[in-house]
Amino acid sequence: MSIQNSRRNAFVALSAVLTGVQKVQLFGTGQTDAYLATLERILPADLLDELLGRFEALAGNDGIEAAVEPQILADTRLGALAQNIILMWYRGVWRRLPDDWRANFGSFPEDENHLISAAAYQAGLQWEIAGAHPIGARHQGYAAWCLVPERPTRRENA
């Protein structure tokens, strides 16, 4: 397996844990490569590899979610990166890293607030999770707004 493929697999596996959305659904957004490329464009390679490496060391545990919290999200350096990955998937944006993070761990020229692309806007998980559609796109059809909203399955909200 190439380095790129292994990085991609690790990225999606980490993303699934962070977002609470299955890998196959993440792939279904069509944005996996664009988001990984965003990380690679903005962050130094060693930092990204450290984040993914930390996750891979935890993988295989049954309680991966419980392990990710202290090991990654609560980490003063890696936590903000993990939050940015969540925001990418849910909203299609890159959030500028917090000022104190930049002061402590480095600032990168492309680390600025921005929408990743028009397609990323439409692919944001927030819309589907809301039971909705991206505003201005992927319409549900005439009078679909009259339908009783479907409850999420227990499995999805477990």
Binding site: G20, E65, L87, H133
Partner: protein, 604 residues
């Protein structure tokens, strides 16, 4: 400088008023020239799609985001409101002198602000035309509801309004026998029905009256199911390259939740739908043509020509000066632009009231969480309102108001769902399945009301020009003075209290917590700070009246001083009540068109 040929009628502005008049006049065989300041990039599918892509790709998806202004024809933008720390605010297109910020914007592109309107097509109430007679306030219009009623019928057909007339007979509104709207009402959303089940019929005290609340479908200029014989009208009428094609009718409303700022399927009316129906043999349309001066004969005061600046590149100020002349001239450029052009030409009117009496519907938001999933973020941006507080004796003491009930969660207020996600991830530190579950729960319960409050004409609220403030083409920019008065503030308080009662009755948790983080202008009244926003309802800048001393135009929107000049649009409103102004200005435009046809037929 070159001169264009002689026309019967020269119209400045291809928004809804200009388009409706152009359609009617060319249909009567009159030779019409329309000058549009902005680009004409709304007539082909490819161009329209570009605007849609611009919107998708915009980081900030504000009202003007799909419709960027040409350098030569700048426009106000919501983002302008917060660029300056003090008054006058000069960073945007408007020069705002305050004391309060005027919060609304408009679009200078072919089709005007109907490119990004919500489509609410309410008639004004009979008592709205008689504010002085009924409440001792402001002035009466020179016409009554009954005068305008047949033109309301016509405007509803021209624009393709969806409603059931049976829902719309309230607060004195009457319709001619057998009349119904051209299309069936847009179905109420699930959240409307849930809310209605909880609150319909609840009594609310308003002064000495008890008002019964009703969640009501409002007439909307969005395609739904046509009634028999009605053919929806289309907008896209040229292929790439400008070759005429059969007009595309637009789809039925598909629930894109994006009426503002762009309907992706052209279900919601925009003025290009009317312009596409103008008789091409009699219509000349010049886009990227910014009217800069009205030329007047010193003796007769008749208009002799319009001077305009024509540009080829929307990103450049390079232009040529041209002259357009006709027998009749119609300013249909927008309430602010009409006044600006008059004043820039030195035409103040005898009453000195050009530009004076600027109004809007300053509006508050109320937002909360429903007790269960109501399916937010689905459907047109809104499908219902509360209309019961638009009329009543209480108007002697404070402003009337109406509620628009959103289907778009807290999108308009807090910037949800983005801000809901940010809060969950960055503040609450949620992730994984818990995050997903939290967002599903929160987003699907978000409810939003817009509380749009009436404003009376005050001559001190006005548009002026000042030679020291010019745009890049050298045209003077609008200078705006604006203050919200006690009558409106008291209406805001009453509206906010009603919203709280409705939320309480429906079991909605009130989350209306304003803060400086939200992008709204503020105003203080009796020690309380109000966060308000503009509704885009510019009006009153060339108000109509029954005599030249107290108004700018007569009831046909003809200038008192200049016998061949008409100023049309919501600038002509004497007062504005609580209805969104587009339908009324459309009805007035059609009445003016008929009058002009009759006048020209007589050789006048």
């Amino acid at each position: 400088m070159s001169e264009t040929g002689q026309y019967d009628v020269v119209i400045v502005g291809a928004g809804v008023a200009g388009a409706l008049i152009a359609k009617r006049l060319t249909g009567a065989g009159l030779k019409v020239l329309v000058l549009e300041a902005g680009p004409g990039t709304t007539r082909s599918a490819a161009d329209y799609k570009n605007h849609l892509e611009t919107y998708y790709a915009a980081s900030a998806k504000g009202t003007e985001s799909p419709w960027p202004a040409a350098t030569a024809a700048p426009q106000p933008d919501g983002g302008d409101l917060f660029k300056d720390k003090s008054l006058p605010a000069t960073s945007g297109y408007f020069v705002q002198k305050g004391p309060h910020l005027y919060g609304s914007t408009y679009t200078r592109t072919l089709g005007g602000s109907t490119l990004h309107w919500l489509g609410v097509s309410l008639r004004m109430l009979p008592e709205d035309f008689e504010m002085s007679s009924c409440f001792g306030l402001a002035r009466d219009w020179p016409i009554r509801y009954e005068t305008l009623s047949p033109y309301y019928d016509q405007a509803e057909y021209e624009m393709g309004v969806s409603a059931d007339v049976a829902d719309q007979r309230y607060l004195g509104l009457s319709f001619s026998g057998g009349y119904d709207y051209p299309m069936q009402r847009v179905p109420l959303s699930y959240s409307d029905r849930v809310l209605g089940a909880a609150v319909n019929g609840m009594p609310v005290n308003m002064g000495e009256e008890s008002v019964s609340v009703q969640i009501r479908s409002y007439p909307a200029a969005r395609n739904s199911i046509p009634r028999s014989g009605y053919q929806p009208v289309g907008a896209l009428d040229v292929n790439a390259g400008g070759v005429p094609r059969r007009t595309y009718l637009g789809e039925r409303c598909e629930g894109n939740t994006a009426c503002i700022p762009i309907c992706p399927v052209q279900a919601r009316y925009n003025a290009n739908k009317s312009l596409a129906q103008a008789d091409r043999h009699h219509l000349t349309l010049k886009t990227q043509a910014v009217a800069s001066e009205i030329l007047v004969d010193n003796i007769s005061q008749a208009v002799t020509a319009i001077r305009y600046k024509r540009y080829d590149d929307p990103n450049s100020t390079q232009h040529s000066e041209e002259i357009a002349s006709g027998r009749i001239y119609i300013l249909a450029a927008h309430a602010v632009e009409n006044a600006r052009l008059m004043l820039a030409s030195g035409l103040q009117s005898q009453s000195k009231r050009v530009g004076c009496g600027l109004m809007d519907h300053p509006a508050l938001y109320a937002w909360g969480l429903a007790p269960f999933n109501v399916g937010s973020f689905r459907g047109p941006q809104s499908t219902s309102g509360i209309e019961d507080f638009r009329a009543g004796r209480f108007r002697c003491g404070h402003a009337a108001f109406r509620f628009d009930i959103g289907n778009d969660g807290w999108h308009a207020t807090t910037g949800a769902p983005d801000t809901t996600v940010n809060d969950a991830v960055l503040q609450q530190k949620l992730f994984g399945r818990q995050l997903r579950s939290h967002l599903n729960d929160q987003l699907s319960r978000q409810v939003r009301f817009s509380l749009a409050v009436e404003q009376l004409p005050n001559l001190k609220n006005r548009v002026t020009v000042d030679p020291s403030y010019r745009d890049k083409m050298g045209n003077p920019r609008p200078v705006i003075e604006y203050e919200i008065d006690d009558y409106t503030f008291k209406g805001m308080i009453a509206a906010r209290n009603v919203a709280r009662e409705v939320f309480h009755q429906a079991g909605i948790t009130d989350c209306s917590r304003n803060s400086e983080a939200l992008p709204f202008p503020t105003a203080e009244y009796e020690g309380e700070k109000f966060y308000y926003h503009g509704m885009g309802h510019f009006a009153g800048t060339h108000a109509m009246g029954d005599k030249a001393e107290n108004s700018v135009v007569d009831d046909y929107q003809c200038s008192w001083e200049h016998p061949n000049l008409y100023l049309v649009g919501s600038g002509s409103f004497t007062t504005m009540g609580t209805s969104n102004p587009t339908l009324t200005l459309a009805a007035l435009a059609l009445r003016t068109a008929d009058y002009i046809i009759a006048r020209m037929a007589k050789g006048d």
